[in-house]
């Protein structure tokens, strides 16, 4: 019995001396995220569209509503992306429409994220009946198909301008974020530093603001990017089916005009291909940023050092269950240099 106690004691006394080594030298560093190639590509594309959204109306070659006699012209030097059935310049419609897309995406993203964080963190933090209720609420919103819901709400509003649509998207799209935030808060709540702050009698809201939220940054960011993606897609879809006013230019509106004026049947590809590519490019940029965040949060997804060229050159096939063995031809020396100081050789 006495021996057993001594061993238990050893766990508290000795462990710090023996076990306090940080296991993984590649633990996430603050700006690691920005060194991720995928995230960087995504951010670059986003910046491009962001600038376009700000300066769009000034740099657009024509007024997007200005009709002309160049009806349904294919791309040319005067109209880089051609014209529509009333002779309006499509490039100008795309450039001017960028702002509408991004503004709606941002407003919807921010409002859904705020709602999601508030609901999720509250649910995770208060626990009990409050948690049950809020979780049930977010699960209900997750199951109800959002796009049809948005369609019938927007369809019944007398005027559904960009901001209204953004708010409707925000009000219906928060549930996913809330669910993730709740799970993360629950696991954080049990960590030492939060427990410690609690024991010190810190006020709950201070605890949430100062200790819990900063640890959820990456997750919040991922939720935000996801919601912006969804908002952009929803808004473009609503514009395409003609629910939002067709005079508000955004990429979906262009597709609406194209679809309703038989652009497909007339072979006017310049009318609907560029706008769709812009949507896809923006969506891809957002997805790439989210990949970056995913890899930042889940190190297993990172392909550290998996440079395809190096792998081929060194003839390594990374595999689980069968560790690659480097085969240097006999007599080749460079390995010794790569392996660092070998014993006794340096004396």
């Amino acid at each position: 019995m006495a021996q057993d106690t001594s061993l238990v004691e050893s766990e508290t006394v000795v462990e710090p001396a023996v076990e306090h080594r940080t296991r993984d030298p590649r633990r996430p560093k603050r700006f690691l995220f920005l060194r991720n190639g995928k995230a960087l590509t995504g951010i670059g594309i986003l910046l491009f569209f962001g600038v376009l959204a700000v300066v769009g109306p000034w740099i657009a070659p024509y007024d997007p509503n200005q009709v002309s006699v160049d009806l349904l012209q294919p791309p040319s030097w005067t109209h880089w992306l051609g014209t529509d059935h009333t002779g309006r310049d499509i490039l100008s419609q795309i450039v001017v429409g960028t702002r509408g897309v991004l503004v709606v995406g941002l407003i919807a993203g921010v409002s859904a994220t705020v709602l999601g964080v508030v609901v999720g963190v509250t649910a995770g933090f208060v626990g009990g009946a409050g948690d049950e209720t809020l979780s049930a609420l977010s699960n209900v919103f997750l199951v109800i198909p959002q796009l049809p819901l948005i369609i019938i709400i927007a369809g019944q509003l007398p005027t559904a301008g960009g901001v209204t649509v953004a708010l409707v998207i925000g009000a219906t799209g928060w549930a996913w974020g809330a669910r993730v935030m709740r799970a993360q808060t629950l696991s954080l709540r049990k960590r030492d530093f939060v427990e410690a702050a609690r024991a010190n009698g810190e006020r709950t809201w201070r605890l949430v603001l100062a200790e819990v939220l900063p640890n959820l940054t990456a997750i919040i960011a991922a939720g935000f990017v996801g919601t912006v993606t969804f908002a952009v897609m929803s808004q473009v879809t609503l514009a395409f089916i003609g629910i939002t006013p067709v005079s508000d230019w955004n990429w979906g509106t262009i597709l609406f005009w194209a679809q309703n004026n038989l652009a497909l049947q007339r072979g006017a590809w310049w009318w609907f291909v560029p706008a769709g590519l812009c949507i896809a490019l923006l969506g891809m940029a957002l997805t790439l940023v989210n990949f970056g965040i995913d890899e930042f949060v889940n190190p297993r997804l990172r392909s550290t050092g998996m440079n395809a060229r190096v792998l081929r050159r060194r003839r390594i096939r990374p595999r689980i269950g069968f560790t690659p063995v480097l085969r240097t031809p006999p007599g080749a020396g460079p390995r010794a240099a790569a392996a660092g100081p070998t014993r006794k050789e340096r004396s």
């Binding site: 897609m233 997805t287 889940n298 395809a308 069968f322």
Partner: protein, 326 residues
């Protein structure tokens, strides 16, 4: 057992919430578009039908909101969703009933094909991480970001306008009479092929990426290494250990993103003028047919709920821990 009870309660709550949302939306909207439309229908609408519409859209301001709510449930339980304005005087329930099988056939089958195919490809790519298979990822990412309906437009341009291989709209040859004949079924498949292909192409990317990431994550679990250490055949380790566990979050994601996927694929019906619920909803929105809009939304929600229940049972069948804890 506890699991089944908990889930049943959850689904009842969700169904109740969907109905209640449907009840509240027209009552919360500013303005009163329905009264105006009713005015136009003056005389053509019988008093019984008028009564249903009054209850459905809260025009009866004389009775209390609770009374309206009770009446509303009464109508729904009798299967009365009011009359459509556009297809006057066809009851909404009838229109929805005709459209639903087409949607379940097209969207349902295409979604299942996309899920199964995408999940299998995701396993293959995730398992061969660090090889040529990774080259598929950028393409997949692009496809995951393409709006569904735009892919539909491109498909129509290429395969029906340019190549003329498939019809660009409709769900069967209008010259035929619907019947269980080879000819008719063949026509349905012929007309459904392009929309289905587009639905599969645009939703498969999400399943591929999700499963690939799960396989990569699960592959570094200890039990996968143990399976290798036991000298099990590679296929057994990949399928029975890595994929078998990676599929669990994939199935719960399937349930959760079903609403999203279905929303997107309904738009595809609009692009292809395919006579399902999505196209009906589209027509209702364009003609401001409020009873039909409400009816479509209710049915879509209940259908997604049904699919969720199935996904839940599949999950419980796959994960022994879920069966026990609930």
């Amino acid at each position: 057992m506890r699991f089944a009870v908990r889930r049943t309660i959850f689904y009842l709550i969700t169904a109740w919430a969907a109905v209640t949302i449907n009840f509240l939306i027209p009552r919360l909207m500013p303005g009163d578009p329905v009264t105006a439309l009713m005015g136009r229908m003056q005389g053509r609408i019988d008093s019984n039908a008028e009564e249903s519409i009054r209850v459905l859209f809260g025009l009866d301001t004389s009775s209390s909101i609770w009374q309206q709510y009770v009446d509303y449930w009464g109508l729904l339980l009798r299967g009365d969703l009011g009359l459509s304005f556009t297809f006057f005087p066809t009851p909404v329930a009838e229109i929805v009933q005709q459209a639903l099988p087409w949607t379940i056939g097209l969207v349902g089958i295409a979604t299942i094909i996309a899920f199964v195919l995408g999940t299998s490809i995701g396993v293959a790519i995730g398992w061969r991480r660090g090889t040529w298979a990774d080259a598929l990822l950028p393409i997949t990412t692009f496809f995951s970001a393409v709006p569904y309906f735009w892919l539909g437009l491109i498909a129509i341009t290429v395969f029906s306008v340019t190549l003329g291989w498939f019809p660009s709209s409709g769900s069967y040859d209008r010259g035929m009479v619907p019947a269980w004949s080879w000819e008719f079924v063949g026509s349905v498949i012929y007309y459904g092929f392009l929309p289905a292909l587009t639905v599969v192409l645009s939703s498969i990317a999400g399943w591929i990426l999700g499963m690939r990431n799960m396989v990569v994550t699960v592959s570094s679990e200890d039990y996968v290494t143990v399976a290798h250490a036991k000298g099990l055949p590679e296929r057994t380790v990949m399928v029975g250990y890595a994929a078998r566990n990676a599929i669990l979050p994939q199935v719960s994601n399937f349930a959760l993103s079903l609403g999203f996927v279905v929303g997107g694929t309904l738009i595809m019906e609009m692009v292809f003028s395919y006579q399902g619920i999505g196209y009906t909803l589209f027509q209702a929105v364009n003609t401001q047919d409020y009873p039909l809009m409400q009816g479509c939304f209710l049915v879509i929600t209940l259908a997604v709920l049904g699919a969720n229940i199935i996904a839940d049972f599949v999950y419980a069948a796959l994960d022994p821990r879920a069966r026990q804890e609930g």
